[in-house]
């Protein structure tokens, strides 16, 4: 082959692959591959780098309000009536049976479906109104109470799933059956990367102080499903290396690694000249990105340079690796460095029993850190284009599971209503949306299904959920699935 041609070819192909995150690069690649009937999403590799100004790989349909998302998932399902959904009328109902008119033959988990009676357990916690909007907040969340005017509450979330695995899957992927892409993957797929040396979508599994009843959290929740694999979440670990194998072997300092990578590149180039496979250049680039990550990731996770004021804001727990506070501090550092989507899982909200004993530490784990995080984003001018989401996969029952006393009780899973909040990213500050009945059992006003919630989040990111699709198995698949979904306008700023 003519060496000049070869060079030209390699440069053309190389640019396409290197600039994969860039719309022009993709367009070029598409034209090259279109001849072959190959669509870009099925390509190996894909966009990795790209400058901060690039257009999203999937053009948005409207002006995006949020550029970044932080999703704080409270695994197990926090009790809405002990935290946000104030039900003073329940005080008179202590140990009385939940009226059948309220329960309406609702499907129960087999943990309580055999109970002889369903005695009502009023919340043991004091509530007070806060902020301009007068939001009722439990004494368990004093810091959250201070920022209610920054938050957008939805007290009327509902789902169909009544057990954890399907319910978490429903909330994260829009489908109870595992295997669909999660919200983070969709955002990665749509908006692409904001940086050159960190993943687009990061997952942190925070360790709760109490681990009495934690639920399984597995990588299937942040898999990319049918979207290309690069959109899967990268799980940062709280112990050991934050990213698997990020550290060089013992006895191999960066200069030695650089040395071997230089040799590797030279040899790979020779091989490319022999074989001419464009993938060889993709691989060279991936090795270079890996090398950059080897310095950018430790820089990200090394919090030694954080001033004392950080800990005043986030709380002392933020010094403890793996805690929720530490995770949300890392989240802020990730956002600063261009990570697009951070998902934190905080476990042990599954209060079937001993709610009174367990609720304080659960709330303490997240209350101040969430407040500190929001204040921090505000100070840095990042709250406006960062959407923060807080909530569990379902709510809990007003009736007690197991023993009931004034001070302690358990609550079973409850899909018919639960409370979530959002902040920043174009959602309406201070909004309080939706109402439930006196038993916090059924929604009486403005129900928000998970599909509606997803549609609303996508809208904030600039996507019309009906048109934000990926073709798979012959269908234009979407996060909101096949049932009708609507954007909740009242939640938008």
């Amino acid at each position: 082959m003519n060496p000049f041609e070869q060079y030209a070819l390699s440069e053309t192909r190389r640019r396409f692959f290197r600039r994969g995150g860039n719309a022009v690069g993709w367009a070029g690649l598409m034209s090259l591959l279109a001849k072959d009937g190959l669509t870009p999403p099925a390509m190996a590799g894909g966009p990795v780098g790209g400058s901060g100004e690039h257009l999203p790989p999937i053009p948005t349909h409207l002006a995006p309000k949020a550029k970044r998302v932080v999703y704080l998932h409270m695994v197990g399902g926090p009790s809405q009536m002990d935290l946000f959904d104030y039900k003073p009328a329940m005080g008179d109902w202590y140990d009385k049976d939940l009226p059948e008119s309220i329960r309406q033959g609702q499907r129960l988990t087999t943990m309580t479906s055999g109970q002889a009676r369903f005695p009502i357990a009023p919340s043991k916690y004091k509530f007070a109104q806060h902020g301009q909007n007068g939001m009722w907040v439990s004494e368990m969340l004093p810091y959250t109470a201070r920022m209610v005017d920054d938050l957008c509450f939805i007290r009327s979330m509902h789902t169909e799933a009544i057990n954890h695995e399907p319910a978490v899957s429903m909330l994260q992927t829009g489908n109870q059956i595992p295997g669909r892409p999660c919200l983070g993957s969709w955002v990665s797929y749509g908006l692409g990367s904001l940086n050159e040396d960190l993943p687009t979508f990061v997952v942190l599994v925070a360790r709760p102080s109490n681990t009495e009843q934690i639920q399984a959290i597995s990588a299937r929740l942040w898999s990319s499903g049918y979207l290309p694999g690069e959109h899967a979440g990268v799980s940062f670990r709280s112990a050991g290396d934050p990213i698997l194998y990020i550290n060089n072997p013992p006895g191999v300092p960066p200069e030695v690694r650089r040395n071997t990578l230089d040799g590797l590149r030279a040899l790979n180039e020779m091989n490319f000249r022999q074989v001419g496979d464009p993938e060889t250049h993709t691989r060279i680039e991936q090795y270079e990105l890996a090398f950059r990550m080897q310095s950018s990731v430790p820089d990200l996770t090394n919090t030694a340079g954080e001033p004392e004021s950080t800990y005043a804001l986030y709380g002392e727990d933020a010094r403890k690796p793996g805690s929720f506070a530490n995770s949300i501090l890392l989240t802020r550092r990730m956002l600063e460095r261009g990570v697009r989507f951070v998902q934190i899982y905080h476990n042990n909200w599954d209060h079937h029993g001993n709610l009174g004993g367990r609720m304080p530490s659960q709330c303490k784990d997240v209350d101040q850190p969430c407040w500190g995080f929001i204040q921090d984003l505000k100070q840095r001018g990042m709250l406006d284009d960062t959407l923060v989401i807080w909530g569990g996969e379902f709510g809990r029952t007003i009736y007690s599971q197991g023993g009931l006393s004034k001070d302690n009780y358990g609550r079973d899973h409850h899909p018919r209503c639960f409370t979530m909040w959002m902040a920043g990213g174009g959602c309406k500050p201070g909004a309080i949306h939706g109402e439930t009945d006196d038993f916090s059992y059924n929604i009486v006003k403005d129900p928000v299904h998970i599909r509606d919630f997803h549609a609303t989040v996508l809208q904030l990111l600039g996507y019309d959920h009906e048109r934000f699709t990926y073709r798979y198995q012959g269908l234009d698949q979407k996060l909101t699935g096949v049932e009708p979904a609507k954007v909740i306008k009242e939640l938008l700023a």
Binding site: A216, E230, Y245, P249, V256, E279, G474
Partner: protein, 1032 residues
């Protein structure tokens, strides 16, 4: 079973102007060129893609989504509704709608965000003008062996495959690539047939072999290697979703590696694919099924299962059935039948009803809704070790024979027993009772009807210390409702319950031996209930060990299983309160329990003595009744005791039987188990589930195959076996195609149909439809001979091409769909790891066995596992387990092997027939930094340092091991420069050299200088990360 018509949809759709399937194929795929104005349009090629993309979502097979009751996927329906008037485009509704400018009228509607191009509209119009001929979907027409097409260059091809490939290339004006050199082929063949790189000497022998059949000999040798079965099996295990944990919730260990080993063995034995299929889908239903066939039926058991509290049994069962159905759908039918779980399939002719009819075949399992979080969740069978197998298979007959001997002796002995019993008196029997250290024998009121109770207490007896052995028991009669309290006690409740007792807890018998309850005490409880309302002998012995395990519980003279409810005894158990019968010192008397014959011995009686106590006691009770009033069951019980303890002939035979039984137990214990399929006795059936919801049952359905596929012959049973046999019938259009397409994917990196699990309407079209059909027929007609088929593929000229990509070919065939060059793609995760192990010499070539745990960073399991999970703490093996092939790595579904997962290994949660193949920085980090790879680099370095004297020879040896070829000079100069810098660094930093060389458990070679070894280790690490190494 009745069907509306004994013909497939294929034929019905083709009516009225039916053409033969062969013709349909030839027409359907004559050339991939786009339709030109003067062409006759072909439905499958030109028209259907437009309709499928734009119309079928609302006017297709899905009855629920169908708008205006119009379907365009069936000719008669489209014609009946006037949408299509054959030959008259201007009278056809379709044409009017697509041409309309009225927003209310135009199709597709604006809300669908779909628009037709002018060219597409023109195609539809012309197609209708030409008669609007429909075709069934290509993959539903049974393949007929096509004649290989004529080609211009007749010299190139070696196999019929090549004619099809070459014809495609020539149609594009392309020439095939030249044949790759021998070394490249040696490596490619070895990787494709065994998953391992060739050894340098194998490569050289092949290069040097001048005989005309050198290639074939090399291939045959690889096909004979046991690594063949491991490699093929590894692909299959993805499809079978095999793993070592249950998957959901606790995700506990599941012991079913015998299935994995069955798969490897089946490939190595070259089991024909039809048998392979039948045994996995229905091995348990075969007449005279073998153990191996039952193991094979574990295919249906590989699915995930749960034991989550709160889940609903029926929902779980529906989920399991759905998984089994979808897996078979993807693996054998190549159809995404799962789409029809909730609604009629949007594209493929599978209605929701048909999905549930299909699922009925897999809905008849005895597998329970909950897996119990145990490793041996039913139904399972024992699988002995191979060397135990002959004995295991012989044992049942031997046990039966021994039982028969025991029975025969018993029959013969009955008169002897009667003769023994007749003259006995109470005194004579009492004299025979074991007297050893008898401390107390409490009055014996007759054990009559009712519940006699003795009132007895004595301060003189029973004041034992905890290190003293003693035995205590009585005849008791427990009421139906059970009762709770002490039968016999020397216990001081007021002082921490110090002392001991014989305790009845409901219907369970227990002993407390207490210093201070509950912190300093023992408690042993029988596992099973006592019989109610009959006199039962209970006796407990304690050996003075201070452990709960030192308490033995005998019921009616036989040792019973017990559990320790407390097991921490340190202090004294002596107490001054008296021994009492029927109560503790201060407690109320135990109600409604008959107590008689209380005995206390100052030592632990042995089993024979206890048996005598029970047997003689029972004999005495029998004697108190007149001979004709003696209950037969009681007499039989005494007789059983007598033969066991008083008849030497019986005893000998029983011992022989016991030895056989314990031998069987021992074989079972050292073997493993298999998860097997087991059919319920009733007929296979299922319900249509509205929207796929378990609690929304609609019509009951019987097992049946989808109508669009060939009918299931009457003579086949309507169960899994019949289903499997149906899959393999010659007229079946899918099974053979789907299978050969998957094989092609393994070797060429992509299937002829790239959507390997979906040959349905929404799947992609085949790149070489006739080649696919030719291979499908060839494979089936060869007797489904797997090795022969792979040999056919790898001996083709198409396969033997060089992988060099010229600019011309990158332009004309960028992703090698036309097979214009040899395959080159990044190897699967397991191959990448095995490659490093093999080239470094670390690989342990042991076949099969329990899964192993190689290196894995700490915390990978812990991060996702629940605290109660028994696969929460990952502890790497030492020694051989670190170096086995990757298909033996323990597969936890919630956290698959970390390094493999990063390289796109699936989680094995569901069936996977096509892995993704990405290229990410995280993968680079694995092969650069994972201790497994760093250690392999060291071992490789040590190896070349030991076997070659100088740089050139060492670098060359490195290349031959890692690349299967000698080093080129330009490469050697790069390595020389790298090594120079590395050596300089490690000379200057000996501590870093030591740290690097300490990675991994493999021994270092004494006398190899650390700095030099470290430098070569990094050089080897560099080589093992070459694109050329990572690619096939």
């Amino acid at each position: 079973m009745s069907r509306p018509k004994g013909i497939s949809v294929a034929a019905r759709l083709a009516a009225p102007r039916a053409f033969g399937p062969a013709l349909a194929l030839a027409l359907g795929f004559a050339a991939p060129a786009p339709a030109r104005a003067d062409d006759g349009l072909i439905y499958n090629r030109d028209v259907r893609p437009i309709l499928a993309e734009n119309c079928f979502a609302c006017h297709g097979p899905d009855s629920a989504a169908r708008k205006a009751d119009l379907r365009l996927d069936k000719r008669e329906a489209a014609v009946e509704m006037g949408a299509v008037e054959p030959g008259k485009p201007d009278e056809s509704g379709v044409v009017a709608r697509i041409d309309s400018t009225d927003k209310q009228e135009v199709m597709p509607p604006p809300s669908s965000h779909k628009t037709l191009t002018a060219e597409q509209k023109d195609v539809l119009r012309r197609w209708i003008a030409q008669g609007a001929e429909y075709q069934p979907h290509w993959s539903l027409i049974a393949p007929v062996r096509p004649t290989p097409p004529p080609v211009a260059d007749a010299s190139w091809g070696r196999t019929p495959i090549d004619a099809f490939v070459l014809a495609g290339l020539e149609a594009k004006g392309l020439k095939p690539a030249p044949e790759a050199d021998r070394r490249t082929l040696a490596r490619r063949l070895s990787l494709d047939l065994t998953g391992l790189p060739p050894r340098p000497e194998e490569v050289e022998a092949f290069v040097a072999d001048a005989s005309p059949d050198a290639y074939e000999k090399y291939v045959d040798a690889l096909l004979r290697s046991p690594a063949w079965g491991e490699h093929r099996g590894r692909y299959w295990l993805d499809a079978a979703r095999y793993a070592d944990t249950h998957g959901f919730h606790f995700d506990n260990y599941r012991e079913m590696w015998s299935y994995r080993d069955w798969v490897i063995e089946a490939f190595n034995a070259n089991m024909p694919f039809d048998r392979f299929t039948i045994e996995q889908i229905a091995g348990d239903l075969l007449p005279n099924r073998t153990l191996a066939q039952q193991v094979a039926s574990g295919f249906n058991r590989c699915a995930m299962s749960t034991n989550e509290g709160g889940t609903i049994a029926e929902e779980n069962l529906v989920g399991y059935t759905r998984d089994r159905t979808e897996t078979v759908g993807q693996v054998f039918l190549g159809l995404t039948v799962g789409c029809a779980v909730c609604h009629d399939h949007k594209f493929d002719p599978i209605s929701q009803k048909e999905f549930y009819e299909l699922s009925a075949f897999f809905n008849n399992s005895t597998q329970p809704a909950y897996d119990g979080n145990v490793k041996d969740s039913a139904p399972i069978i024992p699988v002995p070790r191979p060397d135990d197998l002959p004995r295991w298979e012989a044992l049942p007959a031997l046990v039966d024979a021994a039982k028969a001997e025991v029975d025969a002796r018993a029959k013969a002995a009955r008169p002897e027993f009667d003769a023994w019993l007749a003259p006995q008196t109470a005194d004579a029997l009492a004299a025979m009772l074991p007297a050893g250290d008898l401390r107390l024998s409490v009055g014996l009121p007759t054990r009559d009807e009712g519940a006699p109770q003795v009132a007895f207490e004595s301060a003189a007896v029973g004041d034992f210390e905890k290190d003293q052995a003693f035995s205590f028991g009585a005849w008791i009669k427990v009421p139906q409702a059970g009762a709770t309290g002490s039968v016999l006690a020397r216990m001081d409740e007021a002082h921490g319950h110090r002392g001991w007792d014989l305790w009845l807890e409901g219907k369970k018998i227990a002993a407390h031996i207490v210093h201070e309850w509950p912190g300093d005490a023992l408690k042993a409880v029988s596992k099973d209930d006592l019989p109610a309302d009959v006199w039962t002998h209970v006796l407990l012995t304690y050996d003075g060990s201070g452990k709960a395990a030192g308490v033995k519980i005998y019921v009616d003279g036989r040792l019973r299983e017990s559990t320790a409810a407390a097991d921490r005894l340190k202090g004294s158990i002596r107490t001054e309160v008296p021994l009492k019968v029927g109560r503790r010192n201060a407690s109320a008397r135990i109600p409604d329990v008959g107590i008689a014959d209380v005995r206390l011995h100052g030592r632990a009686l042995d089993g024979a003595e206890v048996a005598d106590l029970a047997g003689l006691g029972r004999a005495w009770a029998l004697l108190t009744k007149p001979a004709d009033k003696r209950p037969a069951a009681e007499a039989d019980a005494v007789f059983a005791w007598w033969t066991a303890s008083r008849d030497p002939a019986s005893r000998e035979l029983r011992e022989k039987l016991a030895a056989l039984e314990s031998e069987r137990e021992a074989i079972k214990a050292r073997g493993t188990i298999a998860y097997v399929s087991q059919e319920k006795s009733e007929e296979a059936a299922a319900f249509l589930l509205f929207r796929g919801q378990y609690d929304q049952r609609r019509d009951p359905l019987k097992a049946a195959t989808p109508e669009a596929l060939p009918p299931m012959p009457e003579e086949l049973p309507r169960n899994r076996l019949g289903f499997a046999q149906w899959l393999l019938r010659p007229e079946h259009p899918l099974t053979a195609r789907v299978t050969v397409n998957r094989s092609w994917q393994e070797l060429f990196g992509q299937g002829l149909v790239r959507t390997t699990g979906d040959l349905g309407v929404s799947g992609e079209q085949p790149s070489h439809p006739e080649l696919l059909d030719w291979m499908a027929v060839e494979f089936r007609e060869s007797g489904w001979d797997v090795k022969r088929f792979y040999k056919l593929l790898v001996t083709s000229s198409a396969y033997r091409q060089s992988a060099v990509a010229t600019p011309e070919k990158l332009e004309a065939d960028p992703s090698n769909r036309l097979i214009s060059r040899g395959p080159r793609f990044r190897m699967d995760a397991e191959m990448v790891r095995d490659y490093a192990l093999a080239s470094s010499g670390l690989l342990v070539a042991k076949l099969g066995g329990p899964s192993v745990r190689p290196y894995q960073p700490e915390g990978v399991w812990e991060a996702v596992a629940m605290p109660e999970s028994n696969t929460r703490n990952y502890k790497p093996d030492t020694g051989e387990g670190l170096y086995r092939r990757s298909l033996y790595t323990f597969w936890k579904r919630a956290a698959p092997p970390a390094s493999l997962e990063i390289l796109n290994a699936p989680s094995r949660e569901v069936c996977t027939v096509r892995r993704e193949r990405t290229d990410t920085p995280l993968q680079a980090l694995v092969t650069l930094n994972d201790p497994q790879f760093v250690e392999a680099a060291r071992a490789l370095a040590q190896r070349v340092l030991a076997e070659a004297p100088d740089f050139d020879a060492r670098a060359d040896a490195l290349a031959r091991r890692a690349l299967a070829r000698p080093l080129r000079e330009e490469e050697a100069s790069v390595l020389r420069e790298s090594l120079g810098r590395l050596a300089a660094y490690y000379q200057a930093h000996p501590e870093d050299a030591e740290k690097l060389l300490a990675v991994g458990e493999a021994p270092r070679v004494p006398d190899q200088p650390p700095a030099e070894t470290a430098a070569w280790t990094m050089l080897a690490n560099q080589i093992l990360n070459l694109d050329e190494v990572l690619n096939k």
